[in-house]
């Protein structure tokens, strides 16, 4: 597969146990601080209006926390015009559990809020309301390849629009008593603001030579791999670690058919 044009990363947001913000995550990922994944309560999204804040589901809370960090330097008008790609391998297990239990009851009683929260794009919908974002917004799933697929779609949108795109990736464990289970153990959400290379504001760095290559990916650093195993969104940590170290690096992300998405990361403008 061929390459897309060079792509800048302008900002990063993270929200996960042991990696509660990008600035703290960067020190951990650059080996300057230990990774201590202490349990963490679901974040509160101050940007949501009170009604939506009350109704928001778990994936929304984590996704919006990471997204909010990645746009804190932007004016409201820029946020309103920022296209978004939301990516999740599993969606919201808590809402799914509620739906399945309510439908299994002798007298079915599904609440309207549960139903509208059950759409896969619920976090994107809440984000649009919270940030008054009117631009294009998509929500995708590609199982274990979800983060790479989201990055490719966001990169393709940047190429098509010559404008920035916010990529938000998130996956959470399903509740212990969920009728159907995943093997995700630890919540993870991150956000990357992507833009055409060569814009005025100095980016964190550039992605170049994106292509699909044969063979599987190397695992993450062992402590991260153990904590975030099976978390499709957390495959982003391979890229986040390269950004945190601030050095030129090759990055590989799991893709389909045992292949991976490969690219070069170069820090700075």
């Amino acid at each position: 597969m061929s390459a897309t044009a060079a792509l800048a990363i302008e900002s990063v947001g993270v929200c996960a146990p042991g990696l509660p913000t990008w600035s703290s995550a960067a020190t951990v990922l650059a080996d300057r601080a230990p990774f201590v994944p202490a349990a963490m309560a679901a974040p509160v999204n101050a940007a949501l209006p009170p009604t939506e804040r009350r109704r928001a589901n778990g994936t929304t809370r984590w996704a919006l926390a990471a997204a909010g960090e990645a746009i804190q330097d932007l004016a409201p008008q820029a946020i309103a015009g920022l296209a978004t790609v939301f990516a999740s391998g599993d969606g919201d297990g808590e809402v799914l559990s509620t739906v399945l239990r309510d439908l299994a009851a002798e007298k079915v009683a599904l609440s309207p809020t549960t139903f509208h929260n059950s759409v896969y794009n619920a976090p994107a919908g809440y984000w649009s309301i919270a940030s008054r974002a009117l631009a294009a917004s998509t929500t995708i799933c590609a199982d274990a390849a979800t983060f790479a697929a989201g990055l490719l779609e966001a990169a393709a949108q940047v190429a098509a629009s010559a404008a920035p795109v916010l990529l938000v990736a998130y996956d959470l464990p399903f509740p212990n008593n969920a009728p159907i289970a995943t093997r995700v153990r630890t919540p993870f959400a991150c956000a990357l603001r992507l833009a055409p290379a060569g814009r005025a504001s100095p980016p964190l760095g550039r992605i170049q030579d994106m292509h699909i290559a044969g063979g599987p990916c190397p695992a993450l650093r062992s402590d991260l791999e153990v904590t975030f195993t099976y978390n499709a969104a957390a495959r982003a940590l391979a890229l986040l670690a390269a950004i945190a170290r601030g050095e030129q690096a090759g990055v590989a992300l799991p893709y389909h058919d045992g292949h991976h998405l490969a690219f070069a990361w170069t820090p700075g403008a």
Partner: protein, 396 residues
Amino acid sequence: MIPLYLAASSLVNGCGAGWREIGDALLQGRSGLRRNDFEPAQELDTWIGRVEGVEDVSLPDRYAGFDCRANRLILMALEQDGFAQAVHALRARVGAERIGVFLGTSTSGILDTELQARAAQRSGRAPHWPDDFYAQRHSMFAGVRFVREYLALRGPAFTVSTACSSSAKVFGAAARAIATGLCDAAVVGGADSLALSTLHGFRALELLSREPCRPCAVDRSGISIGEAAGFALLVREPRGAVSVRGCGESADAWHMSSPHPDGAGAAAAMRASLEGAALTPDDIDYVNLHGTATPANDSAEDRAVTATLPHRPACSSTKGWTGHALGAAGITEALITAFALEQQWRPGTLNCDAVDPTLAMRVETRSQPARLRHAMSNSFGFGGNNCCLLMSVGHE
């Protein structure tokens, strides 16, 4: 965007399986809606667009793990109208890695998850999930996984799940993947089966009609849910008469399950599709409305259409034929729009006898031959997610 031609297409919905049955139903004004006879939700007083014969479909042995209602709909559609053969022929020419798969769905195989979880809860036992149930049936990606395996494709792939705009937005995803060189062609489309969560969910929202849906009618009373699958093979070279020229996408930033009352987001998507196609409003000859038949949706869409297309082109909703196929509505109506362009025929609005006089757009109730060059197909979803496809007939 780059024009993409529909080199092949196929579909199933309440009107039948394949173009012969569905084309006849469209031209003859025969609705695919029936009083609810979907056994797992038979207590609901409503009308549905159920696909006949899904229960009798059997997947080939090697795909047995994929067996669920949604994947049966997918298989039915892939095997209509020579669609799979057209993909095989293209694959032989360009290679499996060069054909992407981008499908939309809102619920994937959730019906089977719902039924097994219900059986377990009611019997007091823990549910038993077969190996790979999650990946092959439950996951939002299950349909793409099935299509890639069934058609032996290895190009870029993902599922779009943005509720009722899902399988319209895949045209944009495919156009971008092709424009950036990730692939040369793409299978797009999607599927949604009838499901307990959607039937009961729309009832909870009081949006489910007790009669066959009557889009844009003065006495419209909500949606009829349908199930459907549909596919298009998109290529850059002019093969086939119809091309997709624009895919406008936007968000409402308004409410999780109600459209913006002024249709502002919908209008933005329509304008974006015109920009993508480098056309002007006057070029549009026909709009296939989202037209769900809820009072609020049709009014909001009227504002959007009126603001975007002041020359008042013919508009109609075809949900009286198919019902609202939710995540599969985008592909269903894109293909009906392509059919209209090919046949030089404009569908009316089945079941709409008296148009709501407060609607300013030109709602056509009767089908008739029409000269059509460019047409739009609107799809709007929960979370305020909007998509408008712009399609054209002829080569230039």
